[in-house]
């Protein structure tokens, strides 16, 4: 949109042209990676090349990398698959209170089936304390789930310290790390994070949102969610979405080379954006000022409803998400905002703006102007605003 800005990259991000070029030959071509004839050779090679590219990005074992339909499926597979494969360890589940909704839902499903669940509280900026995590781990804890970069408020967690705390409390417990919003934007290494499973998502990489993967440590014992075939080592049956997989692999390789430059640009743009938004009266930044996902800016505006604000900004040519990129509908408070101790109206007045390395200063400035104008207009209509 001319003069506007697209700052909703966490929901979906335009494809990197190099990624598009890599995936296009696999849109509608003949031959399955599982075929044993000549037509299957090229797809099979592309599949394995992508597996290596994504594994290299996050320091994973290629043999343990499972492609999925996106980060949400990977989150479900991590929780449900590790619990099913590790019943001998126990049934207790520990997760932070600020996990992605897909992780929380999978944990709730386990709880409904009889697994005791403990959600670990976070501080006012969304950080999980290693001591609090360790305190929640019991002798029958089978799974500990922690999110590396909180999808809404962007808080980056010290995952190595959290994993160490969990291991100290129970070495056998499986540790699932959600890097669905961070892999490709900041360094992610499965070994130094001591993760048994690690979620990778497409949007953070500049690949489609419908591309993702779960990296699993050999020996971690994972059961599949989708059964009935040998695809993905039997852990995710069904025809491989080759264009998405190739896109994820190409994006991972590009990200390895360009990550530092991208992060520096996004952090600078994020600072510019946050400063502009916070210049509007009665606006607060949710999450930490430092130590957040590059390009993530999450604010609440007093006496303004988040969904109305997102729509008002869209009318001014600026795309953002209300409150959460993942639960953009329903008018409900984002659970993450409640977890960090916010109360209404702050929990209902949030918008999430997410940048990428392709974002321009002009877009940032357009977003700030649209935000200020929309907030003023909505407050003028509000009977509650002073």
């Amino acid at each position: 949109m001319s003069g506007g800005a697209y700052l909703d990259h966490a929901a979906a991000t335009p494809l990197d042209p190099r990624v598009r070029e890599a995936m296009e030959p696999f849109l509608g071509g003949a031959g399955s990676p599982s075929s044993i004839h000549e037509w299957g050779r090229h797809p099979a090679e592309a599949l394995e090349r992508a597996r290596g590219q994504v594994a290299a990005l996050v320091g994973a074992d290629e043999d343990g990398l499972i492609f999925t339909s996106g980060a949400v499926e990977a989150r479900n597979l991590a929780v449900k698959g590790l619990l099913a494969g590790n019943r001998a360890l126990g049934r207790h589940v520990v997760a932070s209170a600020v996990e992605h909704p897909a992780t929380l839902a999978a944990c709730r499903t386990a709880e409904r089936a009889g697994a005791p669940l403990d959600l670990v509280r976070v501080d006012g900026e969304g950080r999980i304390a290693p001591a609090a995590l360790a305190e929640a781990v019991r002798e029958d804890t089978a799974l500990v789930a922690v999110v590396h970069g909180q999808p809404d408020i962007g808080t980056l967690q010290d995952v190595p310290a959290l994993a160490a705390a969990a291991r100290a409390a129970r070495p056998e417990a499986r540790v699932a790390v959600d890097a669905g919003e961070t892999a490709g934007l900041v360094p992610v290494d499965m070994a130094s994070m001591d993760a048994d499973a690690l979620v990778v998502g497409g949007t953070a990489l500049g690949a489609p949102a419908w591309a993702g993967a779960l990296a699993v440590r050999p020996g971690a014992r994972l059961h599949p969610l989708i059964e009935g075939g040998v695809e993905e080592g039997g852990k995710r049956a069904g025809a491989e979405a080759l264009p998405a997989i190739v896109a994820l692999g190409a994006a991972a390789e590009i990200a390895r080379e360009e990550m530092a430059a991208r992060a520096a640009r996004m952090e600078a743009l994020g600072e510019r954006l946050a400063a502009g938004l916070l210049a509007v009266p009665d606006v607060r930044l949710n999450g930490p000022r430092r130590g957040r996902i590059p390009g993530n800016v999450h604010v609440s505006a007093g006496w303004v409803e988040g969904e109305s604000l997102a729509l008002a900004m869209a009318a001014r040519g600026v795309a953002v998400s209300p409150g959460s990129a993942c639960t953009a509908h329903g008018g409900k408070a984002a659970p993450t905002l409640e977890a960090i101790g916010l109360e209404p109206p702050w929990t209902h007045s949030a918008v999430l703006l997410t940048l990428r390395w392709t974002t321009t200063e002009a877009e940032v400035d357009a977003a700030v102007a649209a935000f200020a104008d929309a907030v003023a207009a909505l407050r003028a209509m509000s009977p509650l605003a002073p």
Binding site: H223, P224, G233, G234, K235
Partner: protein, 96 residues
Amino acid sequence: MRTATRLVDALGTWCPVPIHLVERAARRASPGDVLELLADDPLIEVDLPAWCHSSGNELLELRRQGSDYVGRVAVTRGRDGGRPPRDRARGRSASG
């Protein structure tokens, strides 16, 4: 002395998937490599010895470990498909 070089994790999968995974791993292995299979489908007690017999690979061990099965296979053919000669001739993979 042989050492295990490739773990085949077939946990949570049912026949014929475990034996397909073994076959695939054998195809990618070199003669002398050892595959270590982890499975929890009881049919592996039948499938793994049968596959080793028909494919010409050597079954070193198949034992229960709790509710799991641990199998060790010495790859003697490797990289030729690891499939029974009959199936190779027909251009399809073996089933378990």
